[in-house]
Symmetry: C2
Subunit: 251 residues, 2 copies
């Protein structure tokens, strides 16, 4: 089990991350303040929910302001529609430029970009984040089902091969067997890879992984501060309480 | 997922069971009162801890008194030394007679007897419990390691073949892969068998199964009221809180 090292936070295993999904600067800042009060270890700004995401200076400024206002590390994420994100008006080239601007502005601690994007784009985001000393999560999400154990293993490995600092895989289970497959793939990847891994099975059936995934190698769990960004996320309070119980029991 | 139906309690999934391990009548009754106050769904009296277990009338009376004093269903268990129990002075024939006396006295709601005992003894306990309308758990415990997935599947199936009402399998994991194997076997058995199944991986590494096992088909989890009867059991308070979180998240 590999913990995620954040420069601005103690190494905690697992990290509890709360998403921000506001549509305007005011809404995001209000959400950030309310969510930060619940004690997550970091915030994920899901910029695909943001109305003004075409304005790179405004986005960079808001990212910096979220960190300043909350004192929490920030994960900057544009989730693509193919993998569960909101529909946006930017081209993928513009999205890459947005990531580059946020990295140049040193306005985030981590960025998440899907490994399934055009290899040139993945490479560009990797270069921009590396140049800025920002860690990069390379992610894969299947909102419709759960790939085989072998394919999940390939996804984790692909992130490492592409130079990710953290590999993230999320699936939609169609039954508890899929949940077991996800946990099995997570445990294997956490043993095989040199980078931390993050995983979850989404939805009601997968909710158990939000709590017990860490035992099988997942270094981060997403909890709801004010609004969920994916199905099955537990309220932060419940997530923190459950993780504390498990830490005590297995500590 | 099949719930365990108790005549004297609402069908709850999973049931929280607290062990009683006192050595004397006074100690067991005091322990029962203290443990019952923590709100388990049933109590397991581990009679192999009891000094006077050679006195069948006294044992039957105490079993009845535990139920009367607490108002809780009672699981009556002599755990054999081979499967993690205390050393006792009775022959196995005398143990079977003790089970028969408790059944005749209708002093328990459930009895647990290891499926690995002499088939004649297993049969005798099955007959005695069936005649008294008492459900029988047939159990298998490996305190030294974790059998293969196929062997675990055989153990669950064996309980059903031998006429058990509930099949229970407990293992000692040597790493998280063993924990996954136990969960996988539990899920498969819960789908394949017509009777409820109960399972746990013991020790620190297995503690996660005490909480998340129910998601994979385990219908009962053991929590500590006053003293643990096996390694890795969570305090009842923590167990109830964790299970409530999971019920809420996946409900």
């Amino acid at each position: 089990m590999k913990a995620i090292a954040l420069k601005s936070a103690a190494d905690k295993y697992p990290l509890v991350c709360a998403p921000l999904v506001g549509r305007t600067r005011g809404a995001v800042l209000a959400e950030a303040a309310a969510v930060a009060a619940k004690g997550p270890d970091l915030l994920e700004w899901r910029v695909d929910f943001f109305d003004d995401l075409g304005d790179a200076p405004a986005v960079t400024q808001l990212a910096a302001d979220i960190r300043k206002a909350t004192g929490l590390p920030l994960l900057f994420t544009r989730r693509c529609t193919r993998e569960g994100g909101q529909k946006i008006s930017l081209t993928e080239q513009q999205v890459v430029q947005l990531y580059a601007a946020v990295c140049r502005g040193a306005a985030a601690d981590l960025v998440d970009y899907e490994m399934g994007n055009d290899p040139q784009h993945v490479h560009a985001v990797r270069e921009a984040s590396r140049a800025a000393g920002i860690d990069m999560v390379m992610s894969f999400h299947d909102f419709h089902g759960t790939p085989s154990l072998a394919e999940l293993g390939q996804r984790f490995a692909q992130a490492e091969q592409l130079g990710a600092d953290i590999a993230k895989v999320a699936v939609m289970p169609r039954g508890m067997q899929d949940v077991l497959t996800l946990l099995q793939a997570t445990w294997a990847a956490s043993q095989a890879l040199s980078i931390p891994v993050v995983s979850m099975a989404m939805g009601r059936e997968g909710a158990v992984t939000r709590l017990c995934g860490a035992a099988f190698g997942s270094a981060m769990s997403f909890g709801v501060g004010q609004a969920a960004s994916a199905p099955g996320q537990l309220p932060i309070d419940d997530l923190q309480a459950g993780l504390a119980l498990l830490r005590k029991a297995s500590g």
